[in-house]
């Protein structure tokens, strides 16, 4: 103990051993958790995905690719989830971008209050904010009202993919706004003035200055939103009444009801792979676009 308390203990041999010990101790709890609650469970899932279903459910060791074959044959829930998550990400972006721009450049002195007002919903219960739409969209309220406008007494909003989409956009909107706001807030405003002085219109300025600057935030936000949307379970269950068969439902069905762990595991592996591939393609696409635009901006500048 005495050596540890002397200044610059790392210089002495005993101090170095103590220092290594301290490092190990600091990392120990997190390492245990990562091992037993992440690496091993995910390892089990990957291993199970090559196994066979035991006779009374569960898993029996084997090596087969049948599970993956089956996943490829019944890819509908994947496509359905991919469709909803893509549409949800795009809509969220559409709503978030103008707001983030407004907050970063036009909100003035009340900016702090506006941001706090965004943090509050983000901070309050996701489940409660989701189920509340049951009241809002219900037949007694908005659902009935729209049905009345359409003259269709059987019109329902709840239990449809549209309701799920609304829930997705609603639930994940703050996650898109925050990163966009942060990047736009750091933007050098003189660039916009320069662009305008050089005669660029609003649209040209937005496309050639603001958008490229917002791009890192846009990518972060899209990824933050797309991932949970892809595997979302609560919103489709509550607002979709579990009628739209998404990947979350499929996984729960395989693991808990059919007790076909190997098939469920294969689906989980494919889900993660799909997500990683989608994100990589997206990032690659955006980077390529940015390079192309970067050249465009430079090229358009008068000599």
């Amino acid at each position: 103990m005495a050596t540890a308390l002397t200044p610059t203990p790392a210089r002495t041999g005993g101090g170095r051993a103590k220092s290594a010990l301290l490092t190990g101790a600091l990392l120990l709890p997190a390492s245990i958790w990562y091992l037993f609650l992440l690496v091993l469970p995910m390892g089990f899932v990957v291993a199970f995905s090559f196994g066979e279903k035991a006779r009374n459910g569960g898993y029996t060791p084997a090596f087969t690719l049948d599970n993956y074959g089956q996943v490829m044959k019944g890819a509908d829930p994947f496509l359905e989830s991919l469709k909803l998550a893509t549409a949800g990400t795009f809509l969220t972006l559409l709503v978030a971008l103008p707001l983030a721009y407004f907050l970063a450049t036009r909100a003035g002195s009340r900016k702090g209050l506006f941001v706090l007002l965004l943090v509050i919903p983000f901070w309050t219960s996701f489940l409660i904010r989701t189920y509340s739409w049951l009241i809002v969209l219900g037949r007694g309220n908005l659902g009935g009202f729209i049905g009345g406008l359409l003259g269709d007494p059987n019109f329902r909003l709840l239990g449809t993919p549209g309701a799920i989409l609304l829930g997705l956009v609603y639930g994940y909107l703050p996650l898109m706004i925050f990163p966009l706001y942060v990047t736009l807030e750091r933007m050098d405003r003189s660039l916009i003035e320069a662009s305008k002085d050089l005669g660029a219109g609003r649209w040209a300025t937005f496309r050639q200055i603001t958008l490229p600057i917002a791009l890192p935030g846009l990518v972060t936000g899209s990824i933050l939103v797309f991932i949970p949307m892809m595997g979302e379970y609560v919103i489709p269950q509550i607002l979709g009444y579990g009628r739209t068969f998404l990947i979350g439902n499929a996984l729960v069905l395989d693991f808990l009801e059919a007790r076909n762990w190997p098939l469920g595991s294969a689906k989980a592996v494919v889900l993660i792979a799909t997500m990683l591939i989608t994100i990589s393609v997206y990032v690659w696409f955006v980077n390529r676009g940015r390079q192309a635009r970067g050249v465009g901006v430079l090229g358009a500048r008068p000599p």
Partner: protein, 316 residues
């Protein structure tokens, strides 16, 4: 530039400026309207839940009159109070563990080589990006398989019979599963703070012969405090609010509030559920505001301007 710009007569400049001004005002109005609509959209469901908690009608979706009865009914409901207690215990234990582990790991990662750090980075990001439902099911099958192997051994050691020690699903498994995600969260928050920290203060402290522990206590820790407080509050809230992971690794007798609410809502929203939800909302918003106040106070004391909850959440 454009042909029309060149062709425009000089005398029209003043009028063009006025038009531009008007256009600017119009666009500003558009932005303001959009912002107002988005905020209305964000707060509508929250307001609706609170308002309908005071609805006299048993069918929660149609408004008939004002009452506060549902709050009394909810607080006297043994299932509600039991799940509330469970949720509080789980969320609090999880927040303590995750904040401690995450902060420790963030400090530890400063002291290791690049390779080790990158390894941890990968694990941290995986634990955050893998969909909750996958983590939940993976944890479930892992625990179930482990218990299948361990329990017979334990039964053999403790002599079997009714009083034998057995591992099973319950509060313990829920806390264990929650701590994983939240440790990663705290780790990221504290590391972001560490990387933006003023190193010269630490060096000055060392030059003045402060012990490493004293340097940590008087220099590093106060600077990390906003991130630690934010991490604690976020961990508590995420755990208190979690449905997916909890519902899969829960056991008999450890129903949490989200599991209760989910079950109720599947059968139709009742004003009692709204009353419970309103109390939860009041509690979480209160916690957020307290956190905000603590950080503001801490910020004033240490003179740092980065002490707001909104800054921590939006900080990258």
């Amino acid at each position: 530039m454009s042909a029309s710009g060149v062709a425009r007569p000089r005398a029209g400049r003043g009028r063009a400026l006025i038009a531009a001004e008007r256009m600017n005002g119009f666009i500003d109005g558009l932005f303001r309207t959009q912002a107002a609509l988005v905020y209305a959209f964000l707060y509508l469901p929250i307001v609706v839940v609170v308002v309908f908690a005071f609805n006299a009608n048993r069918l929660a979706t149609i408004w008939t009159g004002f009452t506060t009865d549902w709050f009394g009914i909810a607080l006297n409901d043994a299932v509600v109070t039991k799940s509330l207690g469970n949720s509080a215990i789980i969320a609090f234990t999880n927040a303590i563990l995750a904040t401690t582990f995450g902060t420790m790991a963030a400090l530890g990662l400063q002291r290791v080589g690049k390779r080790t750090r990158q390894g941890y980075d990968v694990l941290t990001y995986i634990s955050i990006i893998v969909p909750e439902i996958v983590i939940a099911l993976a944890t479930l099958v892992f625990f179930a398989s482990t218990f299948d192997v361990v329990n017979p051994v334990l039964a053999g050691l403790t002599g079997g019979g009714k009083g034998a020690f057995k591992l099973g699903f319950g509060q313990f498994t829920i806390i264990a599963a929650h701590v994983l995600f939240n440790t990663s969260l705290v780790l990221l928050l504290v590391r972001a703070r560490l990387s933006g920290m003023d190193r010269t203060l630490v060096e000055a402290s060392q030059d003045l012969f402060a012990t490493p522990w004293r340097t940590f206590r008087q220099i590093t820790f106060p600077q990390l405090l906003p991130a630690i407080v934010a991490g604690f509050l976020l961990s508590f809230t995420f755990s208190f609010d979690d449905y997916v992971i909890t519902s899969f690794v829960t056991g008999p007798g450890s129903t949490t509030l989200p599991i209760y609410i989910f079950g109720q809502v599947k059968r139709g929203v009742s004003p009692e559920t709204n009353a419970v939800a309103t109390m939860v909302l009041a509690f979480t918003v209160g916690m957020l505001l307290i956190g905000q106040a603590v950080l503001a106070w801490q910020g004033r004391r240490s003179g740092s301007r980065n002490g707001s909850m909104a800054n921590i959440v939006t900080e990258r």
